[in-house]
Assembly symmetry: C2
Homo-oligomer: 199 residues x 2
């Protein structure tokens, strides 16, 4: 049935490219778009296109920003310009911002080093980051993910910075708040033990 409708095929093809849309839900989402009012469908497309046209990367920290506007982080008077938090993608920035506990600057790498996927240091924004490490920056927090790729990326950056005077730190590892030891994997328990803190 779908094979007979070119518009349908094209819609499914477009939806298949959207990440985190489980393929078993593709038909449901296609059904959603087909059932939308014409007006709402146009609204959706307008939102995507306007966002595309008006939101660009900051050339320094690579966070998303409104075009032709000062960067929400780099150009903010209130933020602490002596500390840079390095993250893999922009989604992690949202997680950190939600805590409300960080007032410094960010640097979005655009991913992590992954030889298997053909991502090398030159594919990330590491060179721009190294260029940013100068006065007044005093500390770099390597907040990449706790995955082999994330840790390799952090190690690579730390190595590049070893001759610099900047302080390098990374996120604490341990038992997540609210969870029990019983159901925690042994590596996490081991790290929590060996990296224990004074009470």
């Amino acid at each position: 049935m779908i094979e007979h409708s070119p518009h349908f095929k094209q819609l499914l093809k477009s939806l298949q490219q959207v990440p985190y849309l489980a393929s078993k839900n593709i038909y449901r989402v296609a059904n959603y778009f087909l059932s939308l009012d014409q007006e709402k469908a146009e609204q959706f497309c307008k939102a995507v296109q306007l966002a595309k046209q008006n939101i660009v990367h900051c050339r320094q920290c690579f966070t998303w920003n409104e075009k032709d506007q000062p960067c929400f982080f780099c150009d903010a008077a209130k933020r602490d310009k002596t500390i840079i938090c390095v993250i893999e993608t922009w989604q992690e920035l949202i997680s950190i911002e939600k805590t409300g506990g960080f007032q410094g600057l960010y640097h979005v790498l655009g991913g992590a080093i992954s030889p298997l996927e053909g991502v090398g240091p030159e594919d990330l924004t590491i060179n721009v980051l190294l260029g940013r490490i100068k006065e007044p920056v005093a500390e770099v927090i390597l907040a990449t993910n706790q995955t082999p790729e994330g840790e390799a990326t952090a190690a690579y950056i730390a190595n590049k910075l070893k001759n610099s005077l900047v302080k390098i730190s990374c996120l604490a590892r341990g038992i997540p708040v609210g969870s029990t030891l019983e159901f925690m994997d042994r590596v996490t328990v081991y790290k929590a033990l060996s990296e224990r803190r004074p009470f």
Copy 2:
């Protein structure tokens, strides 16, 4: 940060309305759209809009069809017009078509009766279905889901058809192929037992 970008807020709002897009993935999908080439973003929007403009409900069976084209099911010479399979939504049609084991017609109800959600029989296409039950239709398969709502809907339709001469059937219940009894819920095991078939 998001609060300061109207385009961003609008994009997130539009994405939040897409079903089956987990809210924890909204930022990732927003990131996907912002990272797309301008050309690909336009392609996506064009696919949605063209599909909207060119795909409409069949007025008889309520499946999706290319506009101004004969219905892929109702108007097909090859399909068995004596049997109608009644389903809740169009996604279930896809599941049945994938089996390749059904050559009759369909009827999409557009949902199931659910007093809690304010969906009554008049909100579904039940009246159109009742109008379709005439020569040459000899059998109606009530293939609504095995949920309280789906079964209530099937019971409602069966009741409406009780004075008609048409044969009413529903899908077999039992152990799914490839699964083990051990991990099956007791209601399914009970149904499989009580509705056992000759070997």
